[in-house]
């Protein structure tokens, strides 16, 4: 039984990593907290649901469309965020909070509050491998998330653009001094974030019920993992995502599924109280 919990925790945790990567990238490069992140993921899920349900588009083809829609939305958001004044972090929280409310109500208006789900029966079938039982859905989540993480790793650590992004994450002023156009890096971070959100959205739509107010939970997840990991460390996010996934899986087994929502919040509070700069991170300037 514990192997099932382990598998469930790791696969869910990998999905959480995917969700958090977009948030962490945007926050790392531009230092804007995007509290509308969860709502954007749900929006991508709704777009995928709409295409899959109304136009009978194959589920795999909904990914590019969701990514494109999110791309455009995130470019618009970047323009809004660019108008912010100091202090950036607090003002961005308030602004994105307002944006989240607007997006949430737009989704309520467009899709109504009914629970939606992208049903893909083939993902629910389970298979076993030496007494470890998994569903194809969990395997898909795990493999997809790992592929995306790997691609992101290649981008960040093996390309020149990635180097520039990492430099901006570490120290914006120094990167600007080194000749990196910080504004364009910010736009690129938003675009990359949009791609990641667009990938996570349809996956969210087939593993969780979609309803307008579920974005809040997703945002909390992304924030917890990002703060756990500290700023700008890919390895931290992977570790944080898996730990969170496992913590939730064990909570569900030991205490029941209704206590699951408190795990994320408690973890975030403990982190903020004791280690606001992240578990693996150092003190940031």
């Amino acid at each position: 039984m514990w192997t099932t919990v382990l598998v469930s925790g790791i696969s869910m945790g990998s999905f959480y990593i995917l969700i958090a990567l977009g948030f962490a990238l945007i926050f790392g490069v531009t230092r804007y907290f995007n509290l509308a992140h969860g709502e954007l993921v749900v929006l991508a899920g709704y777009v995928a649901y709409w295409l899959w349900n109304v136009y009978a588009l194959s589920f795999v083809l909904t990914f590019p469309v969701a990514i494109l829609v999110l791309f455009l939305i995130c470019l618009g958001l970047k323009r809004l965020f660019a108008r912010l004044t100091e202090p950036l972090e607090l003002n961005s929280i308030v602004l994105s909070f307002g944006i989240a409310i607007v997006i949430q109500n737009s989704m309520l208006f467009l899709f109504s509050g009914n629970y939606r789900l992208i049903r893909i029966p083939s993902l629910n079938k389970s298979f076993h491998f030496h007494e470890v039982y998994m569903s194809y859905g969990q395997l898909t989540l795990l493999v997809l998330s790992l592929i995306v993480i790997f691609l992101l790793y290649i981008l960040m650590y093996r390309t020149y653009l990635g180097k520039a992004l990492r430099a901006t994450i570490q120290n914006k002023e120094a990167a600007a001094l080194a000749g990196i156009n910080v504004t364009i890096m910010g736009t690129f971070a938003f675009c990359l974030g949009a791609v990641l959100i667009g990938l996570a959205g349809p996956l969210y739509g087939c593993t969780h019920y979609l309803y307008p107010s579920t974005g809040h939970e997703v945002t909390l997840l992304a924030i917890t993992i990002t703060i756990f990991a500290g700023v700008g460390r890919l390895s931290g996010i992977i570790l944080a995502g898996w730990i969170l996934g496992l913590a939730e899986a064990f909570t569900v087994i030991l205490c029941g599924s209704s206590w699951r929502e408190m795990v994320t919040a408690l973890l975030l509070l403990i982190l903020l109280a004791f280690k606001p700069y992240g578990i693996l991170g150092n003190r940031e300037s």
Binding site: F33, L35, L80, R83, L84, T85, P87, E89, L90, N91, S92, I93, V94, L95, F97, G98, I99, A100, I101, V102, I103, Q104, N105, S106, L108, F109, L110, S112, G113, S213, H216, L220, I223, T224, I227, G256, S258, W259, E261, M262, T264, A265, L266, L268, L269, L272, A273, P276
Partner: protein, 332 residues
């Protein structure tokens, strides 16, 4: 520990009959006569009663907002106040005039716990911590079925007991006018108290902390203690408002009272109305909420609450001092 004295500050408000003072008095007078003006129209009275309750919430939020801390989690206090008063009056049968202040103290206790966790944090991280903090009372209330009836909520809460003032019998259950005046009196009291706090040493200290924390600490103001105290006050009044809400509406459930509606809205009203002013939050509440209910709700039955997000975005980007704050700055 903390000296609260009122000093005689010659700000615009105290200089005799200034435009600020006149408009405030006119506004209060209008609110006082509202039931007569709308000829006891129950629907309008209900909307304005709720608007006044939200105004008290916004004023309570602003006590903490005065210190520069943006709290996204006041729903925790609202909900705990509502549940505390509801459970005490429902299960133990205590009179409402006891349970409501008690609910305030319980919410203040929760505020103390939150303060202990969050007081060292500043700015964005404080806001995130308060956002996460809502989940704790919410999940506990949702799951502690034996005591709180879980997610079904509490039904049939006792309303305010009828009063007999001489020959006048006031029945809060049947008369929306009576409920309106009850909330109006609470609103006036809170407005007076917030005005008092603003001008006292406590208010000055909080504003100093907001403007330049390190300099204020150099002058001898212990930032964490003052912020904690303002959080206790803020939590107390939020809890009392929550209790009033529970007994006016007479039905609560965890999703409702711990929801983002009651933690977002005080913040939105305070920021849009003017975090640096006394009546700004109340003004925003009394303008935006009826606007939402009377105009936008019929227009867009689902999703009309986008208005709150829209005004927040507008305020953050274009009017950081808030509506009333901008007016004050232009007239001074």
């Amino acid at each position: 520990m903390i000296n609260i004295k009122t000093k005689n500050f010659r700000y615009g408000f105290n200089k005799g009959l200034s435009p600020d003072k006149v408009s405030l008095l006119m506004g209060l007078f209008l609110l006082l006569l509202l039931p007569l003006l709308v000829r006891q129209n129950d629907y309008i009275l209900q909307v304005f009663t709720h608007a006044l309750l939200l105004a008290t919430l916004a004023l309570a939020w602003n006590i903490l907002g005065l210190s520069g801390s943006i709290s996204l989690g006041h729903a925790a206090f609202f909900g705990s106040g509502a549940y505390a008063s509801a459970l005490l009056s429902l299960d133990l049968g205590l009179s409402l005039w006891i349970t409501i202040p008690l609910a305030g103290f319980i919410a203040a206790g929760l505020g103390f716990i939150m303060g202990l966790i969050c007081m060292r944090l500043r700015g964005a991280y404080f806001a995130l911590a308060t956002l996460a903090f809502i989940e704790i009372p919410r999940v506990i209330t949702d799951n502690w079925d034996e005591v709180t009836r879980g997610s079904l909520g509490l039904v049939g809460l006792p309303g305010f007991p009828s009063l007999n003032l001489g020959t006048w019998h006031i029945d809060f259950y049947s008369s929306f006018t009576a409920s309106y005046y009850l909330v109006f009196i609470y609103f006036l009291l809170l407005l007076g108290l917030v005005g008092f706090i603003f001008r006292s040493n406590l208010g000055l200290a909080l504003q100093a902390i907001r403007e330049e924390e390190i300099a204020s600490q150099a002058v001898g103001i212990r930032a964490n203690s003052f912020r904690l105290f303002s959080m206790l006050l803020s939590a107390f009044f939020t809890g009392v408002s929550g209790a009033c809400y529970a007994h006016l509406v007479r039905y609560i459930n965890p999703g409702l009272v711990f929801g983002l509606h009651f933690s977002a809205i005080p913040m939105i009203f305070a920021i849009c109305g003017g975090r640096f002013t006394i009546i700004g939050p109340a003004l925003a509440a009394l303008i935006i909420y009826p606007l939402d209910q009377f105009i936008f709700h019929p227009l867009i039955p689902t999703g009309h609450e986008f208005l709150y997000g829209a005004v927040l975005i507008f305020a953050v980007l274009f009017m950081p001092a808030g509506f009333w704050g901008s007016i004050q700055r232009t007239t001074n």
